[in-house]
Each structure stands twice: as C-alpha cells, then as structure tokens.
C-alpha cells in the first residue's frame, strides 16, 4: 500500500477532502491513511469538548490551524443546565498554546471562557486571526481588549449572544492604530457604549471590513457617520433604530444606506420605528439575509419592507409578522431558504396579533426553496402539517414549537401524531426536527420508521411510555443528538438500546423517569459512555429506584471528566463504587 501511494501523493489527494466527516472516514481506512490524514488536517471540529482530551487532539493534528469546540448541551440555552456545569475552554487553550502555536482560528460554542483564556490566546498564537464565541460566558471586556490589542493579524472578532461581564466600552480603543486587518467585528451582545471616535477611526483604517455588528447602545444618529466610513460592508448589524432624527439626519442616513452597494445581510434594527422603514428601501432589493427579530414593527408596516426583498434567502422575524405578513413573504420572497418566527411575548389574547399555522402553510406553498424552519405558534393542526409536508418535501430542518404543552390539534382535538408523520414521511432529507404539542408514542414510531437521515431531535412534554424512546433509538439510524425533557419514561428503553448511545454524540434527558439504578447499569454496560447525573437537589440516600433530575450521556474516549461541580456525578464503571465524584478542587 505504501509503495503504491507514497505519502506525498496521498497528501495531495487528501487536500481535496474538506469535510470533517469525510476526513474521519478516510482516517479509518488503514494506518497509513490515518497517518497521512492526521498530518494534513487543518480544520479540527470537536462536537463535545468532553469526548476527547485536548492533549490527544493537539498531538494528533500537527498542522491544525483552526479549532472548533462545543461545550454545554443545547438545552443550556433554555436554562436547563445549571450554572457551573462545565464546558471550560481553558484546558483546550492551554494545550494548544503549548503544542500548536501556529493555530489561527478558534471557534467556541456554549463554553466557559475566562479572561485568562483570552489573554493566553493573545499571548500564544502569533498568527491568530479568528475568534468566534457563540453563547459563551465567563469573560469580561478586559479579555476582549487583550485580544484586540495583541493579535496583530486579527481578522475576525465575533461575540454572538455571549454573557459578558461588561466593564465599559474601552476595549474598542485597544485596537492599535496600526491594525488594518479587520474583516468582521460583532459586538452586538455587549451593553455598554463604545466611544464613537474609536469606532470611526477603526472603520476608517479597516478597508477589508466586510461584517460589522454594532450593539444596541450605538444610536441611530451616529450610524450615518459609521456607514460613510465602511461603504464596502456586506453584513451590517445596526444599533438601536428608534432615536429621533431630524429631516436632515434622515436624508443623510438614507443616502449612506443607499451607498452600501455590497450589503447582503441586515440585522440589529432594535426597536425599529415604522417611520424609518423607508430608509431601508434602498438596501432591500439586494438583501439575502434579514433579521427583524428585535424589531418591534407590526403589520402592515412590515409588508412595505418585505415586499421589496425579492432576493431574501434568510428571514428571522417575530410573530408580529402575522399570517398576513407571511403571505407577503410567500408572494415576494421566492428565494427564501430559511425562516424563523419568534414569539414577541405579546399577550396574544389581548392584542390583535394573529399568527397561526396558516402563516407557515402559506410560506411552504409559495417559497419553493424553503428548507429550514423554526416556528413558534400557540397551536397547530394536523392538516396544516400535512399540507406543509406535501408542499415542501425538501425540508432539512423543521422545528415547530407549539407553545402550549400538550396542545392537541385544535380543530380535531387529536394528537399531532399524523401531522408529524407526514413531515418525516415526505421530508426524506430531514436532518433536524423539534416536535411539540400533544404527541403519543405513535408519533415516535413514525419518526423511528421514516426519519432515517435525522441527526438531531428535540422533544418536550410528549409520549406515553418507554416505547417512545425505544422507537427513536432503534429506528433513527443517523441520530446523533437527542434531547428530551418532561417525558414519562426512561429506564427500559435506555437499557435496551444502550449500544445505540455509543453511536451518538449525546443524549440529554431532564424531568423524565430515569432511575438511579438504570444509570448505574447503563454506565457499567457501556464503558465508553459518560453517564452524568445532574441533581441540584440530591437526596440523602440514593436507592436504585430513585429518579434523577437530569442525565446527560455522551460517548467519550477521555473517561470521566475531572471538573464536575458538586451537583454533577459521573456514574462510575465499577458496580461497587456507584458514583464517582472525581474532581479537582
């Protein structure tokens, strides 16, 4: 084998293999392929930071230039994972700093990142270019300042929905006057004001800046001055869009916006006032992405905006768009691929906001390229789901959140089983699904039978028995992430399908009926699973029959983690030990 395919040849061939899945497959073929692959991989993705040790990863990929890590379980976004659970970036940063100083890009999601981490990054990677932190926490603006001041070649600094200890807007002034390399800057999640002059000067000397996302404290009256200095922007996230402007300011801002000839993506727009919508008319025809989810604009004003966005591919809005607005979208936005409709929090009983299942049906009819949906709605019907499925068999991601738990089809009072059956039957390429409403075990039987490409499934308040979980674990061949809350089952299905869990990245179950004894058995049966019990109110004694609050089960080659807080127990592998509380204090 080696003689026929010398390293150089293999290396060249592998340089065309980009996707990590493919590279993982390639590395399993034989030892020489494993070796060649690992020595050429530049972009490393670790979907669960506890699945493997940082040291192993650092050693395995000597040419690593980009590292992407994910930490906490997805349900952490909804406050279901207590603070302090874990997901610390430090061990990774430390390992990479010591062994991979040529690392250029770090992307972290749902991890705890401290100022020490950021300072370490700034100090250790001399060619550091890209820092993207999504839903991370644990750092302050001081850490950001360290990155800004020290990373001479910084191109991307993006803080997406992070919890930051905001000590003020000074961090922006730490970009040296000599730094001209910035390509994207996103500080939309920060609160405090940055100094306008710092920002203006930074923009003036950043000719490569393509993406700028301001925070809400950047007021509308200064936007014009910023845009004048960055007419090359492709992505813009404005600050607040509701301050009073005089006619002259409005005219100047309108002009500045119309000069953004490359602009494709618009977001921010906090508290967008209807009278300012016309300012956006000039950019609408070019927009492919529009995020109105913080714009409290109602109908019919939204129509004026949306009817002009014929190239729109991605739209995020609030339910204020109502069925009527979605009808407009169906008519005008024929390129739409992704739609997200968030609840505005308006008390729908007391206002006239009418968003029903009909809105989604219209869009599924009119937008033939639609493949990804996140839709929050008060109630739904099977008929609507069946129509939607028939209209759009090309869905890859379908997340429906019927906000009333256990809500049946409001016309027939039946469970939504048949509706979701249609979805999984017709949408053969479905990768991600979130179900809601009243669902019996039957719905999950259908999912198990049909959703063969499904990788991620989220379930809440559903099902009748262990059969539900059994259908999913035995049926969904491609399932990688399963998260369940408040469903009435656990033990039997888990134990019967234990082997399946090693083929998945993780399983989360909270407020279900999983007993401590089952957790122990599962852990003993499956050596390469970490079975974590998360209990904020642990009992004094734990008989096998006692239920656990939450379990998080994930495959790992790194063994039980050593950084568990006091409310997390990793079930030990030996039967006699029971629970291990290995932790470093």
């Amino acid at each position: 084998m080696d003689r026929r395919f010398p390293f150089k040849v293999l290396e060249h061939i592998f340089s065309f293999v980009d996707s990590n899945e493919d590279r993982n497959s390639v590395s399993l073929v034989c030892k020489s392929w494993f070796e060649t692959e690992r020595r050429t991989r530049k972009r490393v993705f670790v979907g669960n930071c506890y699945a493997v040790s940082p040291l192993k990863v650092a050693r395995r990929f000597p040419k690593m230039r980009s590292l992407t890590l994910k930490g906490k379980p997805h349900f952490a976004d909804y406050n279901l994972v207590p603070d302090g659970w874990g997901g610390y970036a430090w061990p990774w940063i430390e390992a990479m700093a010591a062994r991979r100083p040529l690392l250029e890009e770090i992307r972290l999601k749902r991890m705890v990142v401290t100022d020490e981490c950021l300072e370490k990054i700034a100090a250790s990677f001399r060619d550091f270019k890209t820092l993207v932190l999504t839903s991370c926490e644990g750092f302050s603006t001081d850490g950001i300042a360290a990155i800004a001041s020290t990373c001479r070649k910084l191109r991307d600094l993006e803080l997406r929905e992070c919890i930051v200890d905001d000590l003020g807007g000074d961090w922006l002034s730490y970009f040296p006057e000599t730094s001209t390399s910035l390509v994207s800057l996103d500080f939309s999640c920060l609160d405090s004001e940055v100094k306008l002059s710092d920002l203006e000067r930074l923009l003036s000397r950043s000719p490569n800046l393509k993406s700028l996302k301001l925070n809400r404290s950047v007021t509308l009256d200064v936007l014009e001055s910023l845009l004048r200095r960055a007419p090359q922007l492709v992505e813009l996230g404005t600050g607040s869009f509701s301050d009073e402007l005089d006619p002259e300011e409005i005219a100047k801002l309108t002009k500045a916006l119309s000069e953004l000839k490359q602009l494709k993506s618009l977001s921010g727009l906090w508290d967008l006032l209807p009278e300012y919508i016309p300012l956006l008319y000039s950019v609408c025809p070019r927009l492919t992405s529009l995020n109105l989810s913080y714009a409290t604009v109602q109908m019919p004003d939204l129509i004026d905006l949306l009817s002009r966005c014929s190239k729109l591919q991605k739209l995020w809005v609030m339910d204020l768009i109502e069925d009527k607005g979605l009808k407009t979208v169906a008519l005008c936005c024929k390129e739409l691929r992704e739609l997200r409709v968030f609840p505005s929090g308006a008390d729908l009983d007391e206002t006239d906001v009418t968003l029903t299942e009909q809105g989604l049906v219209s869009v599924s009819e009119g937008c033939k390229k639609l493949e990804s949906v996140l839709y929050f709605c008060v109630q739904f019907t099977n008929a609507a789901l069946v129509s939607i499925a028939k209209n759009r068999p090309n869905f890859r991601c379908f997340r429906l959140c019927v906000m009333e738990p256990f809500a049946p089809d409001y016309r027939t009072q039946q469970p939504l089983d048949e509706g979701f059956k249609a979805i999984v039957e017709k949408c053969k390429d479905l990768r991600r699904l979130s179900v809601s409403g009243l669902l019996t075990d039957k719905a999950f039987e259908y999912i198990g039978v049909h959703a063969k490409k499904l990788r991620m499934l989220s379930i809440a308040f559903a099902g009748d028995s262990d059969l539900m979980l059994h259908h999913l674990l035995s049926g969904c061949q491609s399932l990688k992430k399963l998260e369940i809350r408040d469903c009435p089952f656990g033990d039997t299905a888990l134990l019967e399908n234990a082997a399946k869990l090693e083929t998945m990245r993780s399983l989360w179950m909270s407020s279900c009926f999983v007993s401590f004894g089952a957790c122990k058995q599962l852990s003993q049966k499956m050596p390469r699973l970490n079975v974590e019990v998360i209990d904020e109110h642990p009992p004094k004694t734990r008989p096998d029959s006692s239920p656990v609050e939450r379990i998080y089960i994930y495959r790992t080659v790194a063994g039980p983690r050593l950084d568990t807080p006091e409310f997390v127990w990793t079930i030990h592998k030996s039967p006699e030990v029971g629970v291990s509380r290995l932790s470093i204090r």
């Binding site: 905001d166 609160d191 968030f342 505005s344 308006a346 019967e496 009992p539 006692s546």
Partner: protein, 235 residues
C-alpha cells in the same frame, strides 16, 4: 423503577403502559426522604384545558384539580427561546419605544443583579436560597401576584408542583405566610433587603432587584421570628 427491581434485567422487553406513571407519582409522594416529588413531571393532567385524551385516561384520584395549570411561561426553560433573546423582547404589546425606555430594557440577562428591572421588558431576577449553591432566575414579569411568584419559587426550589392534583395536604403559600422555616426576601433598588409581600405587587415588580430565600432564623429585623415547624416540612 416502577416500584420493583426486576425490570432492570437486560434483554427483557418490559415497555410499560401509561398508567405506570401514576404509580410512580404516588409512590414518590409517599416515599419521603429528601426526594419529595422530584420525579413528578408535568403531564397533560396539569393542563386540564388541553389533552382531553390523556385526561380521560387518568384515574379518578386525580380529578378535582382546584389550582390553575402552570402557564407555559412559568415552566423553566419554556418556551424554548434562548435566554439572550428572552431578555431583549418586550413583554407587552409592541409599541414605539422612546429612548429612555430602551435604555431601561437593556442588559437584563447579564447583569440582573446590578441593573434595575426594566419597566417594560422581561424582568429576570436572580433567586438564591440559603444552603443551595446554585442560584436560579425567575421572570418577575411573568407573574401576576405574590402567590403566583411563591408558587413558582416553590416549584423551583422545593421541587413541588404548583398545580396540586394529588397532594391536597400541601399548602402553596408557605413562603409567604411565615409558616415554613423559610422566608422570601428581596433586595430593592436602594440595596435594602426587605420581606416580600409588604408593598403592592406592582410596586414590588418595579423595585425588586433580586430575591433570596432565607431561613427564618436569619431574617431578623425583616420578619418576626417563627418557630420551626418541622412537622410541616414537605416530604
């Protein structure tokens, strides 16, 4: 699990019917110890207006629910909206925001303890309980009264469901009426710690910065001393 041990044998297909959840619920409530009702989850019988099929299946011992079902906004982490988004969205019917109002709404999730609860936006405040390391957050604005809030807190910290369907002996207002060993206190805008319940609800909502459930013995000067009533402690 379901009251017996034999279900653990592997290879034995023992996928149980829906009624077993009733047994588990009852078993736990009788069982006692520190578990209380921790295993009890919200089921369709907690939402009597929906899920008629499930309601019909349940046994009669669960009829006669007096309390209202938990509103979907009172369930932790539901609806599943990212916390960063929750705190930025208006709670009321959308309206044009004047500049001062906007500024009040900012920065909720991150700095709940240091910033005032906004008048308009969702008001998540931190809640800590003595002896419990992990704090929680509760949306003050999603509640309509002190009783409501106490119910949510009791669910959060004592693992008890507010919609009492099976436990008539439980009194939902233990945190407020001074009969338990805990009292509910709050820190107001001026940094003072006060006993919850003294001022009208709406006034409380605008001035509360954070909550603390403290032992009555600690609450000197805030509330009259209460005798510990151990026999009233929940299972």
């Amino acid at each position: 699990m379901r009251g017996g041990g034999s279900e653990f044998e592997t290879g034995k297909s023992n996928l149980l019917p829906a009624e077993s959840e009733l047994e588990l619920g009852l078993g736990l409530s009788i069982g006692g110890g520190a578990w209380r009702e921790r295993g009890r989850i919200l089921t369709a019988k907690d939402f009597p207006s929906v899920g008629s099929k499930r309601a019909a299946d349940q046994s009669s011992s669960h009829q006669g629910q007096g309390a209202s079902p938990p509103r979907s906004s009172q369930i932790v982490g539901w609806p599943p909206i990212g916390s960063h988004r929750m705190n930025k969205v208006n709670n009321q019917a959308p309206m044009k925001a004047a500049k001062e109002e906007e500024e009040e709404e900012e920065g909720k999730k991150k700095n709940d303890e240091t910033k005032d609860v906004s008048v308009q936006g969702l008001g998540y405040v931190k809640v800590n309980m003595d002896g419990v390391g992990i704090g929680r957050k509760v949306d003050i604005r999603a509640h309509s009264s002190y009783e409501n809030l106490a119910q949510t807190l009791e669910e959060m910290f004592f693992g008890m469901s507010g919609s009492t369907t099976s436990r008539e002996k439980v009194k939902p207002l233990r945190l407020l009426d001074g009969s338990s060993e805990f009292v509910l206190t709050y820190e107001d805008k001026d940094g003072d710690w006060m006993l919850v319940g003294d001022v009208p609800w709406r006034m409380f909502v605008t001035s509360v910065k954070r909550l603390r459930i403290m032992g009555t013995s600690e609450a000197n000067g805030l509330a009259p001393r209460h005798q510990e009533q151990k026999e009233r402690q929940r299972q």
